[in-house]
């Protein structure tokens, strides 16, 4: 897993961070507002160091920022990388499957056109073939 997080490709870093359900739950909680590590750990059956580990991964991916002054270092969400990831995904969601449907419709059109063209030629006589 660490090898994936160290990749230089920023999208991969974002997606690796999002690949874990606990980390997604933490982000969802932070979407509602800032929280301390203790508050974030509450809903999970997890030790504070385990939660801190997840927070470090999120921080490295730029998904959260931590207040360095306050003693309890409240966490807040940085939605920028998520938006980037979401935009990137949008392309796939919208295109791949529909593209194939559209291609098939177009191929049918092409085949009909070429059939019509052949018929016209036929009427004019075999010579033009």
């Amino acid at each position: 897993m660490m090898a994936q997080l160290q990749t230089v490709d920023p999208l991969s870093t974002t997606f690796s961070a999002l690949a874990d359900p606990t980390r997604r739950a933490i982000l969802a909680r932070l979407a509602a507002g800032e929280a301390s590590v203790t508050e974030l750990a509450e809903p999970f059956d997890m030790t504070l160091p385990a939660v801190s580990k997840h927070l470090k991964v999120l921080e490295r991916a730029g998904l959260i920022a931590r207040n360095r002054e306050a003693q309890w270092r409240r966490c807040r969400l940085d939605p920028a990388p998520l938006r980037t990831a979401s935009d990137w995904l949008e392309h796939y969601r919208e295109f791949w499957e529909q593209r194939f449907d559209r291609l098939e419709a177009y191929l049918a059109e092409l085949q009909q056109e070429s059939k019509k063209a052949t018929k016209k030629k036929g009427r004019r006589g075999a010579r033009t073939k």
């Binding site: 994936q4 990749t7 230089v8 969802a28 295109f95 529909q98 092409l110």
Partner: protein
């Protein structure tokens, strides 16, 4: 034309041949050479690629169909524009086409797309294999609803992003 676009919809399938790849396959009721032409001639590509509904168009469609030649397609959609470009690596009509693809908003995440066209009766079986820069990127692509029934699910991500969008 609606009936024809869905005639082979059930033949659409997605698989993951390796950690970094996604394979999409679908049958088409047209001979291989025609499918190959539809994918490699700009006047054809502009008519189907990215023309998904009203409000969608392909204002730029450049193809230099030579090994080492470049391609660039721009898709105009209701929310803006998406531009893609790449380079042709292998061209073997009517059976095989390999090119790189870069979504210009995210130039650090290129993919290599291998297209194979196999004869299947009077029609064609299209097999498109896209190789992504890492397993993480590939997995997230799979999880977006593109691949029905894929084992890896990132269903929460969509909810999360929607939630963030409302902030």
């Amino acid at each position: 034309m609606l009936a024809s676009s869905t005639a082979n919809r059930d033949t659409f399938a997605v698989s993951t041949p390796s950690d970094q790849e996604i394979r999409l396959t679908r049958r088409f009721n047209a001979p291989r050479h025609l499918v190959f032409e539809a994918m490699t001639r700009p006047e054809h590509v502009a008519r189907w690629w990215g023309c998904l509904a009203e409000g969608y168009s392909v204002p730029v469609c450049e193809i230099d169909l030579r090994v080492g030649g470049r391609w660039r397609f721009v898709n105009r959609h209701p929310k803006g524009e998406a531009a893609f470009h790449g380079e042709y690596l292998e061209i073997e009509p009517p059976g095989r086409l390999v090119f790189t693809e870069i979504f210009e908003d995210f130039p650090d995440s290129p993919s290599v797309v291998t297209t194979e066209l196999l004869e299947e009766g009077a029609g064609t079986r299209l097999v498109v294999t896209a190789k992504y820069p890492s397993m993480a990127v590939r997995d997230i692509v799979i999880g977006t609803g593109m691949a029905k029934g894929a084992a890896i699910s990132y269903d929460r991500l969509e909810d999360l992003v929607a939630e963030l969008g409302r902030r």
